[in-house]
């Protein structure tokens, strides 16, 4: 709902002559009453609530799905991958999940973990989410290969790939995001500390999106090339999202994965120095969208559907054959997935060249059916490949959420494994 303005409230209060209490769109409380002093008090409280609005916002931990997927981007993110100890067995894995579940439930509420070395840094929730993922190899480590979904494997090497091991693969993922970098750092430290008995950190990749209050809403944002990113995503909370992302009984050969999803994380480096040499028209033709508002070339609005056959008066295609969106767009109803990309920027070279790019993510019920055909098309024909290079790649199963206190993340996998 549109936010209730302070003026509305004041009118409401005087009209009624008593007072008013209204829950604002973001969950905080606003109130005023007839007395001038309590009105002032109400405004002061409102102001105080506004001041910590970003900190106080909480994403529920308990739910059918894990949090951190069907959610507007947080400002800061960190993907931490572990290599499981070679002797990790199911019993130890269960102990790992028990600790992580307890930690995440506390951290998402803004509370310290048990045995927290820095409990003072649990400032508040700040929309913290921690999403746990499983890599393909952990099923071999745990000796439960029969429970790995059919076709779930690392993305086959694309000819554009220059993958580095320090950004690729892994057995267990903790995807941690928050709207505050200190809240994120504290959570990451606690979760890593509680994981070291079971594995070693393989890599950690940090990224960011817009600050809160910058984007009017939705997952789309501009990437560091200046392009509007995430335009034709399934809408959060929509039926399409449910069908594209969340696994149901019909879309998997593994019942334990119902309520979960699959994630591909690609670290895509951008060559901004050479990209900057292009003029605006060239940049727009590489993508197939205008840079002003993200509308497909030949159209007016960002959300207009691209017309790949449309030509201008001289007979040239509005959207050139080499344009990114021509091959990125779904060719069939199966080729739809949900993107939730963050940017990364790690320092600057002596010559001023920034190490920048995307922590590009896609979520789908089945990556090999929904994402892979699109990636393979883009690997062959996409002019954007001249300025972008995939340097990291990993795939993850995101199991269902924890619905009741006392259950743990991966409980359905553990139950299925015990029956093997």
């Amino acid at each position: 709902m549109p936010p209730v303005t302070r003026r509305d409230l004041l009118i409401g209060a005087s009209a009624s002559g008593v007072g008013a209490a209204v829950a604002g769109a973001s969950g905080y409380q606003i109130a005023s009453s007839a007395g001038a002093s309590s009105q002032a008090e109400a405004l002061a409280k409102q102001k105080a609530a506004d001041a910590t609005r970003v900190l106080d916002a909480k994403v529920p931990f308990y739910g059918q799905h894990q949090s951190g997927v069907e959610l507007e981007l947080q400002t800061f993110t960190s993907f931490v991958a572990f290599d499981a100890d070679s002797h990790l067995n199911l019993e130890a894995f269960e102990r790992w999940m028990l600790l992580l579940t307890d930690d995440i439930a506390r951290l998402q509420s803004g509370e310290p973990v048990l045995a927290d070395a820095q409990p003072q840094l649990a400032l508040g929730p700040a929309r913290l989410t921690v999403t746990v993922g499983l890599g393909p190899r952990i099923f071999d480590v745990l000796n439960i290969a029969a429970l790995r979904p059919a076709g779930f494997a690392q993305i086959p090497k694309q000819k554009i790939d220059k993958l580095e091991e320090r950004f690729s693969e892994g057995d267990l993922l903790l995807h941690i995001s928050a709207d505050d970098p200190i809240v994120l750092s504290h959570a990451q430290r606690a979760l890593i500390r509680d994981s070291l008995a079971f594995g070693k950190v393989r890599w950690a990749q940090q990224g960011f999106a817009n600050a809160q209050g910058v984007n009017p809403g939705g997952v789309r944002q501009r990437n560091l090339m200046g392009q509007v990113d995430g335009t034709d995503n399934p809408a959060l909370g929509s039926e399409q999202f449910e069908k594209v992302v969340w696994i149901d009984a019909e879309s998997t050969d593994q019942d334990w994965l119902i309520g979960g999803t699959q994630l591909v994380l690609r670290r895509i480096a951008m060559q901004l120095d050479t990209w900057d040499k292009l003029g605006r028209t060239e940049k727009e033709e590489v993508i197939g969208r205008n840079l002003e508002n993200g509308a497909p070339l030949g159209k007016q609005n960002e959300t207009d559907l691209p017309d790949f056959g449309a030509r201008d008066e001289s007979g040239l295609l509005h959207i050139p054959g080499f344009a990114h969106i021509r091959n990125a767009s779904a060719r069939t109803a199966d080729e739809i997935f949900f993107r939730r990309p963050f940017n990364y920027e790690i320092g600057v070279s002596e010559l001023g060249k920034p190490d920048v790019g995307l922590l590009w993510t896609a979520y789908a019920r089945n990556l090999s059916k929904q994402y892979l055909p699109v990636q393979e098309r883009l690997s062959k024909v996409d002019l954007l490949n001249l300025w972008t290079t995939p340097i990291g790649s990993s795939v993850w199963l995101i199991p269902a959420g924890v619905t009741v206190e006392g259950e743990m993340i991966c409980s359905s996998l553990i139950a299925a494994a015990k029956l093997l």
Binding site: I11, S16, A21, V22, Q29, L99, L114, A117
Partner: protein, 174 residues
Amino acid sequence: MNKLTLAAAAALLATTALTGCTSSTPAADQTQSTVDEKKAALAIENGWVRVSEYSDHTGGMTGVFATVTNNTDTDITLVGGSAEIAQMVEVHEVVMSGGAMTMQKKEGGIVIPAGESVTLEPGGLHVMLMNLNKAILDGDQITLTLDFDGADSQTLTLPAKTSASGDETYNPEN
């Protein structure tokens, strides 16, 4: 949802007898205090068992930490306990002795004053599981019973986890 109308705002305030500016109403406060009255005489929260190189073998030992709250109006004393995993459960304190932090049995037990909380934490008051019957590993669920003077014994199941903090033999001068 449509913008909240004046009528809706008025209706809200009619059903919400506001004393201040929060969602807390007198009615809600009443419910809360009813709950308070029913609260357990003794609340043990945020409990955990430490995993360290002292606990990873049979015969080892480790500490148990938690916040213990006395919701009654008389003092309660934590005097000891029992656990399947340990041959002995004792109540300990950490004191400065000869320039080193060393732990020792707390004579008379740990008093939780009426209406107050006592935090058992690394480097301070704690319960000690001694002469372990088996190793305690990260993520283990440890069941133990704590005995009190002035309250019923309480059986708890607590997670075990690694903590760097709490090596009572640590000597800051070294």
